[in-house]
């Protein structure tokens, strides 16, 4: 073996250990009884934490709540970002730079800056404790990202393709839905992946918008911390909270690195 290959191999192993070590810790604790439970000694390996999750309706409901608002958010984001990305890719207009600027500015505005007024606004229009509220507010960082990703995929499709279809008498929305979306399917997958992830991991908005009900998984986990925290239960919940993300990573593993090639 060449020395460079060995060096790379060592580097890869070091990276794998660095990234995986925290996950090993999480999974290991999730299968450990960290508190005394009936019939299970403290420190023994058991499934008691997972059983407790499914016995607690609040915990299992939080899993469903999170999945619901994240899926709503992904659907909503893609629905509004696709026409916008198509417009950005295919049209020249004067306010383009300004809109680009505003989109980026909101993308990087931290939730804590807007959390309070969003709460006040949503309280007025009855969107507190509702998955629709969280799905809407997460659009603030997901719509700009989705537009950016989709635009780079659409720009990779030659314009002649549009023109042929339009000459054939298809309307623009019809063309985008029936002909363009199949071609940019990997791009839609990548955009959906990033929207899913950013919505799934967000905590500040999700917490402030759920006062009495509809609590997401992150808030449910936070609620487990107390005087005598059952850290095993916390880690079991964390393990479950990783599964949807893992599934998403698996689906886009071959496309995730293709979305940003064209231009930033």
């Amino acid at each position: 073996m060449k020395p460079l290959t060995i060096f790379k191999l060592v580097g890869f192993c070091a990276l794998a250990v660095f990234i995986l070590l925290p996950f090993v810790q999480v999974v290991q604790l999730s299968f450990t009884a960290t508190l005394e439970h009936t019939g299970v000694a403290r420190g023994s390996i058991s499934l008691v934490n997972y059983k407790n999750i499914f016995h607690s309706s609040a915990l299992s409901a939080s899993l469903i709540n999170s999945v619901v608002y994240v899926l709503l958010n992904v659907a909503l984001t893609l629905a509004v970002a696709l026409p916008a990305a198509y417009t950005f890719s295919r049209s020249e207009f004067r306010s383009r730079d300004l809109i680009f600027f505003v989109l980026i500015a909101f993308r990087v505005t931290p939730p804590v800056v807007l959390s309070l007024p969003v709460f006040l606004l949503f309280a007025k229009v009855n969107l507190i404790n509702s998955p629709i509220g969280i799905a809407l507010v997460h659009c603030i960082f997901n719509v700009p990202i989705a537009i950016w990703i989709l635009e780079s995929f659409i720009s990779a499709v030659p314009r002649e393709f549009d023109e042929t279809a339009l000459i054939d008498g298809h309307s623009t929305p019809n063309f985008v839905l029936r002909y363009l979306t199949p071609i940019i399917a990997p791009g839609i997958g990548v955009a959906a992946f990033f929207c899913f992830v950013f919505s799934w991991v967000e905590v500040v908005f999700a917490r402030i918008l759920t006062v009495t009900g509809g609590k997401p998984i992150s808030t449910a986990i936070n609620g487990l911390f107390g005087f005598n925290t059952d850290i095993g239960l916390v880690m079991a919940m964390t393990t479950l909270s990783l599964l949807p993300g893992l599934a998403m990573i698996y689906f886009v593993r071959n496309h995730v690195a293709r979305g940003f090639v064209i231009r930033a």
Binding site: A16, I19, L21, P22, Q25, V26, L29, T32, T34, L76, V80, A81, P83, A84, T87, R90, S91, E92, F93, D97, I99, F100, F101, I104, F106, T109, P110, V112, V113, L114, L116, P117, L120, L121, C139, I140, V143, I147, R159, V197, W200, V201, E202, V203, I217, S218, I221, V234, T238, P244, G245, M248, Y250, R253, N254, V256, A257, R258, F260, A264
Partner: protein
Amino acid sequence: MRSTNWRIWFGLMPALTIMIFVGVVPLSIVFHHSFYDIFTLESKFWVGGEWYVEILTSLRFYESLGRSFAFSLITMWIQFPLGILIALAIPKIGPLKSVTLVLLALPLVVPWNMIPAIWLSLINPDNGIIGRVAELLGLPFDYKFTALHTWILIVVLDTWHWVGLVAILSFAGLSGIAPGFYQAAAIDQASRWQVFRYIELPKIAGVLTMALLLRFMDSFMIYTEAFGINAGGPKNATAFLSLDLGEQIAGFDYGPAAARSIIYFAIILCVVFVFVRVNKRQRNAETEFWQ
């Protein structure tokens, strides 16, 4: 193709409507509140720019600003060289490519409030993997009361969380380089450094600026992860900008919190403005280069 106006607005309208509702409207509410002393939403009193003066003349604000800047710079100086290095080492094809990309994406899917909890249990001397090893080796690690240790923990945690994004974005940029460029470089007997400097770096510059902006803002305004570690301690050594704001909101200090939000948003606008200008210049330079 210069499209008609209604066509453009038809395409942008849905996205803009949502952005106005969840972005512009709340921002206007904050702006309005920032000039009031608010006891309840019904009883509030006009105070003009008092909160702004108070924040902008307080030493605490500049200390937090400095800490946030320092944190951003440190994490970016670690994550960008490391992320680019990883991206360069990822094989362009084969199963190891997919495995590495999946590995790099893993920390991105962890809910943010769980990240400090995970790292705290990792360094826990009773049952944490690192904590027990450190105890065996006799290395004291006291993140609660030693500022340096808290900083190290947050920087390592942030690197673990985000180095994958930098690497994935850089790799995406690298995989867009046509093999012809590398062949030409080989014929010219270019060194590895020259290949990186004159072929790879310019090609990933666009994606890197976007990554730089995302990473700068996220680390500059770090909240959930840093708060979960030590709530700004010890003795405010990790009190970053967002933590000050979060504290005011939690304390129902709405007027000052609103003014602080507006000040932070102004900082964000300045940073984004600079970024957009740089990005545009870069894009122009690139088109000139390729023509």
